[in-house]
């Protein structure tokens, strides 16, 4: 089709020429409605994004943000309403259509071919003839330069970190001539430093006249990067405000519909005796390298031990080792003075140790995607009671209770959890773990992708557990929260413990330094 290639090259130049358009409406949604069966995910939403600005899209979990963006990028089609692109009514049937209109979306789950190099991924699926490697590299480095991206074109995707993969995704859409970029929770899996890098790129794009929509639950990021904020609540567009004239409090109120306190309290720890003692633990990855390298620590009843560290410093392996899911190389794990190494996961669950790890794709381990909430509630307790039959009644009651207590947005407890929005899926998981009344609760990234209100609900829940004398290991990303919530912070770096800090006294900068391994305490055994 000669037409389409012509169009694409026109777009490519327009990225650079877009500066002239600055201030004009890039996309305008008018009365967009989308229903899934009985759920109204989007209810007459109005939204406008202009060239040369960053629009943040804010809303609680399940308020319809992803659904709306999916309509802009051609994955869904609205039931009602019109989308205007450059002031003209547009019908976006597929991601290819969206691309031809200059709309590019970065999904939270990367869509890259692992065995291909960055360069191969970038050109994959474009219709033009494969350029020679040299020309291609030049072209890519040209785009990189104009937006301040850094990549190694030859590197294979499976060797890349999360943030590098994201850069490739961004390059992919830029290469296709994107003028309107949509990012769905891009920072949820990034470290603060990586987030800063991403924001640099976004600022450059904005200067060049691109329109950017970013979804994030982190309010300080909204305030930092955006020019305007559109707030969704329960599928409706509530308001659009200028970022300059707002603050976290106002935004939270708009989002939730009522005033919310953003304080985390920290009840004192009353116990002296440890419930769990880890001694000289070493765990190896399947490839033989050490994931956890000779670490020792202990945690008391009614204490929250915060674990800080750059992603991939051994957090996952630590969780799995304690839960009995991973082979232990050396060392001991003493729970109430009993070594639990060699026990089966089922035995460890019965001893009152609960582990929940929220992976980057959220559903991974811990929930069964195609099952409904009731059946997911039974996952660890289905064996309770005598006889060969499962008892669904307690699970059903528990599901109903959780929906109420945690405000889970779902068409019903019989809906498969894979249809719930990202944040709600997590509430289901964590709610179940807490309700199992553990003595030791290990939770990794429990607020990944949760909205601010739900995050605070989770912190409150953890504190509630603490008051019930439950020992909590909280593996987190947000240092502010770690410092406010934990009693002690343990910092991991490359599988080693670089330090223990008193969370009441430590500063963010201190923790940050330990995280990079820049200096480490002498860890006394």
């Amino acid at each position: 089709m000669p037409h389409s290639t012509e169009r694409k090259s026109a777009d490519r130049t327009s990225v650079l020429a877009a500066g002239a358009l600055s201030g004009k409406d890039a996309i305008a949604c008018r009365g967009i409605t989308k229903r899934f069966g009985t759920v109204v995910a989007n209810d007459h939403i109005d939204l406008t994004v202009r060239y040369g600005e960053v629009l943040a899209l804010l809303g609680e979990n399940g308020s319809g943000k992803t659904t709306l963006m999916n309509m802009l990028s051609g994955i869904y089609h609205p039931d009602e309403g019109v989308i205007l692109v450059d002031g003209q009514e547009a019908v976006i049937n597929s991601p290819v259509d969206a691309m031809n209109m200059g709309i590019g979306m970065i999904y939270q789950h990367f869509r890259l071919v692992d065995v291909f190099s960055a360069m191969e991924n970038i050109v994959l699926g474009t219709k033009e003839k494969r350029l020679r490697d040299k020309e291609l590299k030049e072209k890519i480095s040209e785009i990189c330069q104009s937006f301040g991206l850094e990549i190694q074109p030859e590197k294979r995707v499976y060797e890349m970190s999360v943030s590098e993969k994201q850069t490739v995704e961004i390059l992919k859409v830029l290469y296709r001539g994107t003028r309107i970029l949509i990012l769905d929770e891009p920072t949820a899996v990034l470290t603060p430093q990586e987030t800063q890098k991403l924001f640099q790129i976004l600022r450059k794009m904005k200067e060049q006249g691109c329109a950017i929509i970013i979804i994030t639950h982190k309010l300080h990021e909204v305030l930092e990067i955006s020019d305007r904020v559109t707030i969704l609540r329960k599928g409706k567009s509530i308001d659009t405000v200028e970022t300059a004239g707002t603050d976290e409090k106002i935004l939270t109120e708009l989002m939730v519909g009522k005033a919310v306190s953003l304080e985390i309290d920290r009840p004192p720890v009353n116990h002296k005796s440890p419930i769990l003692k880890v001694v000289n633990l070493t765990v190896k990855k399947p490839d033989g390298t050490k994931a956890i390298d000779n670490i020792s620590f202990e945690i008391r009843k009614g204490e929250i031990l915060g674990v800080a560290g750059v992603a991939g410093s051994g957090q996952k392996e630590l969780c799995e080792a304690i839960a009995g899911l991973m082979k232990i190389d050396k060392g001991a794990i003493l729970y109430e003075q009993e070594n639990i190494i060699g026990k089966t996961p089922a035995e460890i669950i019965r001893m009152g140790i609960s582990m929940s790890f929220v992976p980057e794709d959220r559903l991974g381990m811990g929930l069964v995607a195609s099952m409904d909430m009731v059946e997911n509630m039974m996952l660890k307790s289905y064996g309770n009671g005598r006889g060969p039959f499962v008892d669904r009644k307690p699970a059903r009651e528990l599901a109903n209770r959780l929906v109420e207590k945690l405000g889970i947005v779902t068409p019903g407890i019989d809906t498969p959890v894979r249809l719930l929005s990202g944040g709600n899926v997590q509430k289901v998981l964590l709610g179940r773990e807490i309700e199992s009344c553990p003595n030791l609760l290990i939770t990794a990234y429990p607020v990944r992708g949760l909205d601010i209100n739900s995050s605070y609900t989770i912190y409150d829940l953890l504190n509630e557990q603490k008051k019930k004398d439950v020992a909590v290991i909280f593996i987190g990303e947000d240092l502010d929260v770690l410092l406010e919530l934990s009693d002690v912070i343990m910092v991991l770096c490359h599988g080693k413990i670089t330090g223990f800090l008193d969370a009441r006294k430590a500063s963010k900068e201190q923790v940050g330094l330990y995280m990079t391994g820049a200096f480490s305490q002498e860890v006394a055994q």
Binding site: R7, R35, H77, G81, V368, P388, V390
Partner: protein, 369 residues
Amino acid sequence: MNRNANIDSRKRTEPLLRVVKRAELTGRQIVLLRLLAVLLALAAGGLFILCLGYNPVAIYTRILSGATRSPMAIQATAKIVIPLLITSLGVTLAFKMRFWNIGAEGQIIMGAIFASYFALFHADWNHWVLLGAMALAGILGGALWGLVPAFFKARYGTNETLFTLMLNYIALYLISWLQDGPWRDPGSQGFGKIARFDKNASLNKVFGVHCGWIVALVLVAAVFIYLRYTKQGYEISVVGESQETARYAGMNVRKILLRTMALSGGICGLGGMIQAAGADITLTMGVAGGVGFTAIIVAWLSQLNPVIILAVSSLFGILEKGSSVVQSDFGLSTDCADVLQGIILFFILGCEFFIRYRFVGRGHGEKAK
């Protein structure tokens, strides 16, 4: 750059029809859609028959009446349905666990071989003791044949699809060896074949059909309850979804894998025993006769629901018996029946697509719901 022209072309590039993912349908709508698919399939099949120069209505009514017109016909149909039904239930257990058991054929055969040992060499036992022993032996034979691939999968991660498939052939040649060697009927001159079972070793008839149909119906209820209401059934669904999650939940994945495959093979083996002792009254190389493969289609068509399996395997039975009648009455070859079966399958599988997606015509996007 002419933006307006571009946008016009955008509108024009909307395809005539496009595929859109549907919101979840209600159970009722799904049933209606499936019924529609069956009707369409009959219409298309009718067209095919018309092309062959026959009257479709006459052929269809003859298929139906041929399979059900007399008690004898119904009995014959039932005889076809029984092994198919039992085997479909057997493979369903494995499929629910996402274990690709395409070795039902071999499991049927092994069940039949194990049972035949008692029928041939202990025919003098008390009738009920003998039948009990044969049934147990059948289950054991099938279970063993199901356990072998499960063991290797659990232990070494071998691919079960190839493994179960290969075991089919081993089982088949085992019969071939038995009938030419150790179990050869001395009464048959020169020609390798296993002797007919003693009357004492064959299944009793109830309403003119060997009592396997009662076993089959009991199994429908049992598998239904097992999968839906028991702890083990729950474990199977979790393992089927993700072994990681199952391990996390404290399940012993290996044990579940082995247990379920033993059950799956055991049911198929029981089917083999029933076929040998109820229908064939001997052991032949045709004891499974492709049922193990047809059962896979039946199980998936029924979406692994035992009650629907009962209905679907009955339909398959009617089609098969009916078309053999058509063959003798009209001289239409049985291959045509296979083509008809193919057409029906095509439409029903196509219908699954429409349950998940729908087409939207150009310019109807906004009205679509």
